[in-house]
Assembly symmetry: C2
Homo-oligomer: 393 residues x 2
């Protein structure tokens, strides 16, 4: 063919992180078939869904069986019953949302990637290390990328200090994937104030908000002027274990305007053109998850993950190993002991303790020398890992 392709794709690196990890683990298993390998690298929920959520999904599926209850195309922005449930979920934490600012999605990743469609050629500021979607989707659009560097000195919570006064697009993820670091109210206020002053847009990824245990903000709209500067993208993937069910939501406040142009209207136009709404039974399942009963049932799972987290963070505290995350996050981000590099430590853990984790450098160059462990394994396996680490470290 002779058509023109999007050449920006040439700047997007292939990610070999997880295939590389699998290759290393498989090689080790081959030479050590007896090894009892514990996986603490899992970035996906593992506990079953509460029954009331599955019941809601099945009840909705049954509606397809009769002409009178059959549902065709869903509204592109989501059914009102689910948008209202999202508004109520925010209200529960004390924040008011306009129903018209809520968009139901098939997950945070889609919207985080697709939001670039409505933006022009801005300078993009992205934390490093971080979830790779922000970087890759902006590289695909040919944007100029700047890093907001996370390190031990700032507890992997970069702040706007030292940035110029030009309007920019800033991605923030709190609690952060992979570092688990979570902005407190003062820190997040610094970002909102900066964006408000400079006319910048913050794209705020709050997919891990349900893990927050202290009084850190669960939404950027907790901060004054949040609605004047931020789009918030979130998901039921972690809050309700919906990674396989696929449902999320994005808030584009009516307050977000450039001159007389409304970002909410642009996103509506984008979604009406390139999206056809979320599966009806999925939306009913999400409605159930966001009900008071559903939130309570989901919290039981989150508490079980927290038991695992606590075993790990207690260990690293005892051992004096530096880490972030773990309190408000299923992720523990630790400094590799003895100045080992990320992959060196990966190999060390695999060979000496038969534990698999994720090398921090896989989330950006500033993750080098760090390592991610997660709380999504079983309690039994996490205990096993802690015992082994107790002896090894």
């Amino acid at each position: 063919m002779k058509i023109k392709l999007n050449n920006n794709f040439l700047n997007v690196k292939e990610s070999y992180l997880f295939s590389d990890i699998n290759k290393r683990v498989n090689e080790y298993k081959k030479s050590h078939p007896e090894a009892d390998i514990v996986r603490l690298g899992i970035g996906d929920v593992t506990l079953p869904l509460p029954e009331m959520i599955v019941d809601a999904m099945k009840k909705a599926a049954d509606e397809f069986l009769s002409k009178d209850t059959f549902r065709g195309y869903p509204p592109e922005y989501g059914y009102d019953f689910l948008k209202e449930a999202v508004v109520k979920y925010y209200k529960r934490n004390g924040y008011d949302l306009d129903l018209d600012s809520v968009f139901i999605s098939d997950g945070a990743k889609s919207d985080l990637g697709n939001l670039v469609d409505i933006l022009g050629d801005n300078d993009i500021y992205i934390p490093n290390p971080v979830y790779p979607v922000y970087l890759d989707s902006n590289l695909m659009s040919g944007r100029r990328i700047h890093y907001l560097i996370g390190n031990e000195a700032n507890n992997f919570l970069p702040l706007p200090e030292g940035l110029d006064d030009e309007a920019k697009v800033i991605y923030l993820c709190s609690p952060n994937n992979p570092t688990g670091a979570t902005y407190n109210k003062n820190e997040l206020k610094m970002w909102v104030d900066y964006a408000y002053k400079t006319g910048s847009l913050i794209i705020y990824d709050s997919a891990y908000e349900a893990f927050i245990k202290d009084n850190s903000p669960r939404s950027i709209y907790e901060i004054e002027h949040g609605k004047d500067v931020a789009i918030e993208v979130s998901s039921l993937s972690k809050m309700a274990g919906f990674t396989g069910v696929r449902c999320g939501y994005t808030i584009v406040p009516m307050e977000l305007t450039v001159g007389d142009r409304s970002l909410n209207k642009m996103w509506k136009r984008r979604q009406a053109t390139k999206f056809n709404g979320v599966s009806y039974p999925v939306q009913r399942a999400a409605e159930a998850a966001l009900s008071e009963e559903g939130i309570k049932a989901c919290k039981k799972n989150l508490d079980m993950y927290y038991e695992n987290t606590k075993l790990l963070t207690d260990l690293f505290t005892r051992k004096g190993i530096w880490f972030s995350g773990g309190i408000n996050s299923p992720y523990i981000w630790l400094k590799c002991p003895n100045n080992m590099k990320s992959f060196e430590f990966f190999q060390f853990l695999l060979e000496k303790a038969n534990i698999v984790g994720t090398p921090g450098v896989g989330f950006g160059e500033y993750g080098e020398g760090y390592f991610r462990l997660t709380s999504f394994a079983t309690l039994e396996n996490t205990k096993k890992a802690v015992e082994r680490l107790e002896k090894l470290l």
Copy 2:
């Protein structure tokens, strides 16, 4: 805010077609509360789903209830069980597909819109009249649009005659929405040959393939060199009544390359970055729909719609009113009698027969003077409409 927005959105017109129609109908109902209005404008399926499909969805939902059967993130390109079912569905019609060329989507609209991400700044050729998504998603990317004009002379099936030899991106939709016109093998071969000769890409929308009753191609891959020139986007929305369930598939053949760059690899990278796969129970429902038993059950619904289609096409044939579609499509596209304009005929039908249809001009300027009726109403209502039209026309 002071960030830059995507200014191409300024060239995308708001669509007021269906809100305009609703307004007119509501006004009429207000002044004629007794009117028994029959809606033949419905562009969405209405018949219930076969029980075996709903059962598959519910069974899959139940798997979320146990740790051992719980499913987290689905593969971004779809579960193999469903990709294999799609390959088998094509095989059934005699076409071989590479498993790796199949991508499961949440519907044709998403992929049709998102495919622009991997393409560069090409000249875009779009039928007119046609489904508005091709036009709007390319306008949003600032592409140069050229129309492939449909009219009575070409039976609303534009051919590559008269086009220059430059490589271009061509959208084709067969059976067409809204005209129902369907390319036969010879006509489609002209397009494939043209694309092969010029190095062009065809984006082929086959969402209505299951309605084909004659021997017109149900896939562009039926034509020699189809895999060298075309991406095919399809859906279970019409084939299985999945507009509310949300599942489709896109075929990006391994053969599609520009130099050493593979469109299949680019689409994989795009989807891995900006999509997280389709809901697991939805994929199981789609697998059921594509099984032999499922295809048979779904065909019963298609046959019921066809009864309605036939009542309408028989009427227009008797009356000597020009139309396309109806044979291989749930849409009948008719020439407005007495040289009425589309909206004039809309108002005429509404007032004189209490029938609501869709003005053809809503699908592009070359639809002016034409009108779309659909077969998605009940048999009873379609019969009622035919009786009234019999007297009126």
